[in-house]
């Protein structure tokens, strides 16, 4: 190539070319650059030909890079042209000039296409980030829904999730009752007045889709199939940042997930309610009463998970002058425990007979458990009260001790007659104690005294001091008072109070 064609190449090259001195001032520039910027370049610092962003970028990034590594390639900047900013890619390399001074050779190529492509890339990345966020939110909500127990638990989890994961300022969850009316079962955040009437939202047969946005930022989401929703989720949009923070796709998916969760919750509620009904039916049998004694009882199902356990009580006359009382606890919860409780309770009545006595009764129950497998490891306290003498024969199979309250206010736990839970095959023993007239004998299950935050003995002490008031108040009030502080972790509770009130034997028929 001849010298003249080389110098022609400087001006006809398809890129803008510049030569800078050590300070970054343009010493020479080709015609392409002059055409792009439409103003004299010589003597001007390159930074001054760039947009303000490019200028700062040059001073804070590019010039330092040239000092540290001698060159850089393909950096996106913008030239200031007569018609606005012109995106270019800049490459530069440091050279030593003929005079030994520092020179920088710069080439700029147009990047209009590339910057459009970059913008598309950026948009694609933003979209990908957004879907990743949405997926994370959906996963978090699904996980929260799966942990909600019962319809109320699921509704609360959904309302909380809507605020936590969807960015709603408030949310309410409405579930269709049997007659089709919507009932509010969960809410989170501060609900504005007058929001409730929106709950009807996209209803059955409504041509509107699963997600119905309102002009004021309230969105109503159908839960379950949009054609026959199980309920609705009413969302209030977060203030500010974005006009439409709720993604219809995400909300639709949340609605479907919530529908499934509500379906599961309804089944659960039904099962829990069957177990509860069954247990109540088994417990509300007729208890004996005459003027020689009174028996009062209290049963409270566990709060947690709405599930009933296997606690029971019973009282019956063995013969004309012996009253049998018992309280027991079957291992496990739900339907299974409720039916096992029923069988074991019947077994106690079947094997109890005059002259058998508590120890032999437990041995017979062991046999029943061994033969049927029902009630293995159940515990019970059993006592036979002689209504003439006040003598009590009692036995505890792995159960908490009976508590006697004397008429004068003194109390004693009966710690004798103890053996292991049913079915464990150990020998059975019993003990004897005595009631004075108008004494009370209390049998109870562990839910009344056991709490995670204190030792069992403290729980027994609490019962003993509260029980003094039993003569003035009901057993129900006693239970409520004792459970007051531990409502959330409450297990089933069964309490039976027998009072011996012997009259004048001569007046007896």
């Amino acid at each position: 190539m001849s010298a003249s064609s080389r110098s022609d190449a400087w001006d006809v090259a398809p890129v803008a070319l510049l030569r800078l001195d050590g300070d970054g001032t343009v010493v020479d520039a080709n015609q392409v650059l002059l055409d792009w910027v439409r103003r004299p370049a010589q003597g001007v610092r390159l930074a001054d030909l760039l947009s303000v962003g490019g200028r700062i970028y040059w001073e804070t990034h590019l010039s330092p890079l040239l000092h540290m590594q001698g060159r850089f390639d393909e950096v996106a900047v913008e030239l200031r042209g007569p018609d606005g900013r012109l995106p270019v890619l800049m490459s530069a390399v440091v050279r030593t000039g003929v005079d030994g001074g520092r020179r920088v050779d710069v080439a700029l190529s147009r990047a209009t296409e590339r910057s459009r492509y970059e913008r598309e890339l950026l948009a694609a990345r933003a979209a990908a980030d957004r879907s990743a966020d949405q997926l994370r939110a959906l996963q978090a909500i699904t996980a929260a829904l799966s942990q909600g127990v019962g319809t109320d638990g699921v509704a609360r989890a959904l309302a909380d999730s809507a605020v936590t994961h969807l960015g709603a300022t408030a949310a309410s969850v409405w579930v269709a009752a049997e007659d089709g009316t919507l009932v509010r079962r969960g809410a989170a955040g501060h609900l504005p007045d007058g929001l409730d009437r929106r709950a009807a939202g996209p209803g059955a047969g409504d041509p509107v889709g699963a997600v119905e946005p309102h002009a004021d930022g309230v969105v109503v989401v159908a839960l379950g199939a949009a054609s026959a929703p199980q309920g609705t989720l009413v969302l209030v949009a977060g203030g500010g940042q974005s006009e439409d923070p709720f993604d219809v796709g995400v909300l639709t998916a949340v609605g479907q997930q919530a529908g499934l969760a509500l379906g599961r919750a309804a089944l659960f509620d039904q099962k829990a309610s069957v177990a509860h009904e069954l247990q109540l039916a088994l417990l509300t049998t007729h208890l004996p009463a005459d003027d020689r004694f009174t028996v009062t009882t209290e049963y409270r199902p566990g709060v947690q998970a709405l599930e009933v356990g296997g606690d029971w009580f019973d009282a019956f006359l063995l013969d004309d002058h012996v009253l049998a009382v018992t309280v027991g606890d079957v291992v496990g919860r739900g339907l299974h425990a409720a039916t096992a409780m029923g069988q074991l309770r019947s077994a106690v009545r079947a094997v109890a007979a005059p002259g058998v006595g508590p120890a032999a009764l437990l041995a017979r129950l062991d046999r029943f458990v061994g033969q049927t497998g029902v009630g293995f490891m159940a515990t019970l306290a059993y006592a036979e009260i002689d209504l003439t003498s006040g003598e009590v024969r009692y036995a505890c199979a792995g159960h908490l001790p009976p508590l006697r309250f004397a008429a004068g206010g003194a109390h004693e736990f009966w710690w004798d007659g103890r053996s292991t839970p049913l079915g464990s095959g150990a020998g059975r023993t019993e003990a004897t104690a005595t009631l004075d007239p108008h004494d009370q004998l209390i049998l109870y299950t562990d839910g009344l005294v056991e709490r995670r935050d204190r030792p069992l003995l403290d729980g027994l002490e609490a019962l003993a001091s509260a029980g003094v008031a039993l003569r003035e108040t009901s057993v129900g009030a006693l239970v409520t008072g004792l459970l007051g502080q531990a409502r959330d972790e409450r297990d089933d509770v069964c309490v039976l109070v027998a009072s011996w009130t012997p009259g004048d034997p001569a007046t007896r028929p």
Partner: protein, 270 residues
């Protein structure tokens, strides 16, 4: 994670010598001091570090809230000095780190023996009679540019070096890593830097200070350097015969001489 690993603190020089701490500015990392810091390693305990979000710092430590303003960066400086416990230090801050040093010294003067402010600007935007060098519209344009110039201000900023034919001594691992930064962090750092107004903080500084000003600098023009000098009681101003915003790279000898002279003559004072 310790403060020292969070900020990639690198120690060199004389272990028992007086401490000199170098803080890099907006853009690159502690390697900006590669031509200056070594000159003090024979006399000083030399400390270099990266601001969180830059260079070898722990990116997981980046908290948008903490670093939304320069105060968060000043907190880091104080934490680093507390962790090192080297006694009062000479703090050399370039660009935005000059103001970070001012904030830290105003808060905890006992940690600082003196300040060297290279290309400082307490406010980049013009305001009434004050000339910062940029109009508000220009800074808005800068921030908008950073928002949409995805590749330009991102990790890809780093040019792909073709083989380093001219400078084979530069390994690939060094390529552009000095100025590599997470685009989201760079955007926020730019916001914290270019929207800051720390003019009022200058009066709170009692530490003696040296202002090093290039004769031509589009980012921190000479009149801004003079403003800093006039509002920092007991400061000195040295005008460098250099152009651009990074005299530590373009005129390192002048920077070294000015710091050395300042450190020696101030230190004879009680």
């Amino acid at each position: 994670m310790t403060v020292l690993s969070r900020n990639n603190v690198v120690l060199s020089g004389v272990p028992d010598g007086p401490a000199m701490v170098f803080a890099h500015g907006f853009g690159c990392d502690q390697s900006m001091w590669r031509f200056v810091a070594p000159a003090f390693e024979s006399t000083h305990r030399v400390v270099r570090f990266d601001h969180v979000g830059a260079g070898g710092s722990d990116l997981h430590a980046y908290d948008p809230q903490r670093y939304a303003s320069l105060e968060g960066y000043a907190d880091d400086v104080v934490e680093i000095l507390d962790a090192l416990a080297l006694g009062p230090v000479v703090f050399v801050g370039h660009s935005v780190s000059a103001m970070i040093g001012v904030l830290a010294a105003a808060r905890r003067p006992e940690l600082f023996d003196r300040l060297v402010l290279v290309g400082p600007s307490p406010r980049y935007v013009d305001d009434g009679d004050y000339r910062g060098g940029f109009s508000a519209a220009e800074i808005d344009e800068l921030l908008a540019t950073m928002d949409d110039n995805y590749l330009g201000w991102s990790a890809f900023i780093a040019p792909v070096i073709m083989g380093n034919v001219d400078r084979p001594e530069l390994g690939d691992e060094l390529t552009n890593s000095f100025c590599r930064t997470d685009p989201a962090i760079a955007r926020r750092f730019a916001r914290a830097t270019f929207l800051a107004d720390n003019r009022a903080d200058l009066a709170a500084v009692t530490t003696p200070a040296l202002v090093l000003q290039c004769r031509e600098d589009v980012i921190a023009p000479p009149e801004v350097g003079r403003y800093v000098h006039e509002h920092l009681a007991g400061s000195e101003l040295v005008l460098l015969d250099a152009v651009g915003h990074c005299p530590n790279l373009s005129a390192p000898d002048q920077v070294v001489d000015a710091i050395a002279a300042y450190v020696s003559h101030v230190s004879v004072q009680p």
